[in-house]
């Protein structure tokens, strides 16, 4: 138990009992949970596309940029400053001089070039390659046509110049957990999967497969005074019910809540004040395949939006653990239009629209759905009676989660229900409605609108963030009016935490994944934590 208070300070404050609100306490062990699976695929986080590995990445590694959850934007992490050229495509980064890897090697531009090349290497098929593709020359390297990535240039050990393919903000891509920086002086690359070495605040200690990963404080971390914790046990716990029991038993310090637990915890005295809620960047929706007869007509799609009482479903089934959706972009998006209302619940209007479109007698369609309780078969069951009232018969087509992705990306559906990424970068989110985006890439509803395309292309070229967001806002509104999907909700992520935990941040990308270097434990923690 180390308290960073000098004797003089203690005496001057005249308080002897430790738990002051202002002082971050150093020391202690955190029991964190990794709830997205019952194992870690690999410790070589560059190789893994799973969210699950990000829990390890946050402790052990760092990328060029990181996500600032309070301002909701990417910020420089491994560089202290950057110079941007007049046309916006060339960024010159001044790297931190005091950053050191866990194996003692200081950070240099070579490490970044090495890491990006490793990620983009065509022999590796790493997921981060699509993010590296924003660097000029990366496409050729990925296709095997070049030996180097032409856009990466080392000026000196602490200065790196990167030329990108456009004038956009590269922070969104280069902050991703799959493009973290590895040391370039490790000769055996397979060791990355067994004993990872990075720039993060914690050093890898041990991995018990199927159970947990343990990390310990790195003394030479580049941020002075951090991290506060001595040790973190990242425990694997995929079942909601098991986490519930463990959390109540004080065996774990945080727990991501599902809708049922959300409702339960909100009603209990000891638990309801320690809930962290954030609007995440996912839009739940039912996508319509325009190749299927009735869905060709905009009026039919709009009618479905009017016929379903989304707020009621959110209240009753999702237990208010979501925000009703108006358009595609979620509330936290900078291009969100707060003045545009969502489709109201109006069955009469729905019936009128259907009659206009020639479907007064209704029709039937299948919804391909996974078992997920928040955006799967139960939601389809809930809309069944609502659509029946306007004459439409819905048939759920249950598939396993792994088959859902395949069905949608091979255009093998009439309708599907899914939760799709819609942020944090609005330009990237609306890419899904750009007609040049392939159906299998994200434009699942084969959407194509010339008006939208015009606005989108203008936004791509626009350098002023405010003007860009306005263009995207207009584009988003077009999508809402065209209703290529039924807009259901934006996810509300909820995490319960023990009263002695401080320093958690409202990460809109993925609430469960926290940057550990800000977390500290206060005096009220049980002995096992200190």
């Amino acid at each position: 138990m180390l308290k960073r208070m000098t004797l003089a300070a203690m005496l001057s404050l005249g308080v002897a009992t430790g738990a002051l609100a202002a002082g971050e306490r150093h020391g202690g062990t955190l029991f964190f949970t990794a709830p997205y699976g019952s194992s870690f695929a690999t410790l070589d986080v560059q190789a893994s596309p799973n969210t699950q590995e990000e829990f390890i990445t946050q402790a052990i590694h760092r990328a060029l940029y990181s996500w600032d959850s309070h301002d909701n934007k990417p910020v420089l992490e491994l560089a202290t400053s950057e110079d941007v050229s007049a046309d916006g495509t060339v960024h010159t980064y001044h790297l931190r001089k005091n950053a050191v890897f866990h194996n003692g090697k200081p950070l240099t531009a070579d490490d970044i070039i090495y890491s990006y090349k490793r990620i983009a290497n065509p022999k590796n098929a790493f997921p981060g390659a699509s993010f590296i593709a924003i660097i000029k020359g990366a496409d050729d390297y990925i296709a095997g046509k070049a030996e180097e990535i032409s856009g990466l240039k080392k000026i000196d050990d602490n200065t790196l110049e990167i030329t990108f393919t456009g004038p956009f903000n590269p922070g969104f891509q280069l902050m991703q957990n799959t493009v973290v920086i590895y040391p370039s002086n490790v000769s055996d690359e397979s060791s990355f999967g067994k004993t990872p070495v990075g720039l993060g605040a914690f050093v890898f200690k041990e991995h018990v497969p199927g159970s947990q990963v343990v990390v310990e404080k790195f003394d030479k971390y580049y941020e002075e005074g951090k991290p506060y914790l001595d040790r973190i046990n990242i425990v694997l716990m995929a079942e909601d019910a098991a986490r519930d029991v463990a959390f109540r038993n004080k065996e774990i310090d945080v727990s991501v809540l599902g809708p049922t637990q959300y409702q339960a915890y909100q009603g209990e005295e000891g638990l309801k004040d320690h809930l962290l809620e954030v609007a995440e960047v996912y839009t739940r929706n039912i996508g319509f395949n325009p190749a299927y007869g009735p869905f060709k007509d905009k009026r039919v799609r709009q009618a479905i939006n009017y016929a379903i009482n989304a707020p009621l479903i959110i209240e009753r089934l999702v237990k208010n653990k979501a925000y009703p959706a108006s358009g595609w972009l979620p509330i936290s998006s900078p291009a969100y239009d707060k003045d545009k209302a969502p489709y109201a619940y109006d069955p009469e209007k729905a019936k009128a629209l259907l009659k206009e479109a020639g479907f007064a007698d209704g029709f039937e369609f299948e919804v391909t759905a996974s078992p997920n309780e928040s955006w799967g078969v139960p939601i389809v069951e809930a809309i069944l009676p609502m659509l029946k009232k306007v004459g439409i018969t819905v048939k759920p087509k249950p598939v396993e989660s792994s088959a859902l992705g395949e069905a949608v990306t091979t255009n093998n559906f009439q309708a599907f229900i899914w939760s799709n990424l819609s942020g944090p970068d609005p330009l990237n989110a609306l890419r899904c409605y750009y007609s040049k985006t392939a159906q299998s890439a994200c434009n699942y509803t084969s959407y194509s609108s010339p008006d939208f395309d015009k606005l989108y292309e203008a936004a791509q070229q626009e350098r002023d963030p405010a003007k860009q967001n306005d263009l995207l806002r207009q584009a988003n509104n077009i999508v809402q009016d065209d209703a290529p999907v039924w807009f259901f909700n934006y996810n509300k992520a909820v995490m319960a935490y023990q009263p002695w935990i401080h320093g958690l941040v409202p990460n809109a990308n993925e609430l469960a994944v926290q940057p550990y270097d800000d977390i500290w434990i206060d005096d009220t923690a049980p002995a096992s934590r200190k």
């Binding site: 019952s38 694997l236 949608v408």
Partner: protein, 311 residues
Amino acid sequence: MLRFTLRRILQIIPTVVVVALLIFVIFSVVPGTFASSLFSDGKRAADPQMIARLNEEFGLNKPVTERFVSYVTDLAHFDLGTSFRTRQPVIDLINDRMGASLKLAIAAMVFAILVGVPLGFLAALRPGSILDRGAGAGAVRVPSMPLFWRGLLMMFLFALQLTWRPGFGYGDGSFSTLILPAITLGVTPLALLARTTRAGVLDVLNADFIRTAHSKGMSEIKVVRWHVARNALVLIVTTVGLQFGSLIGQAVVIEKLFAWPGIGSLLVDSVAIRDIPVVQGTILVIVLWFLVINTAVDLVYAAIDPRIKQE
């Protein structure tokens, strides 16, 4: 005896081969691929280039016959392949998890034997008593409860209400984490063992050769001990052996619930994400264990009761 043993052991081989064939066929037609499962949680937009790269790397674009041939050749060299998810050899993954599963299964069985057999004995020695009727009723009712419920009930009772710890997980592998899942899993074999022991003991107590032994003047206690024990032992060994097999299947549910890092949960997870090499490897290993245990039981049975070898 030796010939019998050899015959039994050799019989394992063709069975394993057919099983390997069967699972290859099943998983070559399953919908969904590993690459597509990566995008199914919607947390990142589907990247068709990445899907194509992955499918290419895993050799999933080759024709079925070619894949089958390489699968069989690998198996012949005892090579179980490489996991799609971790890119490590499947055998390593299984090794990591095998210990935990064995611990669980053995602990459950030991629990079942330690409690079930004496219970059965006592019930048989006092037929019709409250103990007997209560045990009999329990033996039928308890296995009726779906395993998932039983597990949740145990967690709720012991971990939450009585706050015995720990309620979940493997932790550092100490004994305390083993208790709850082992007991939950062991209840069904316990019930069966108690019933079987009771029936076996009763049968023997009433049998002709006991009366013969009596009339020959053997003392009461010796009679009970020797014949009853020997014949009951046969039944117990058979039941234990047979139950072990179904235990492995049931352990899957328990492992998922208690976050127990065994090969059962490895199998379920791998099926969900379509990590085919791991699925195939795990099933083969499980089947092999099952066959080995069954053969061992057969051999022990034959050793105890020579009449069996005649067939």
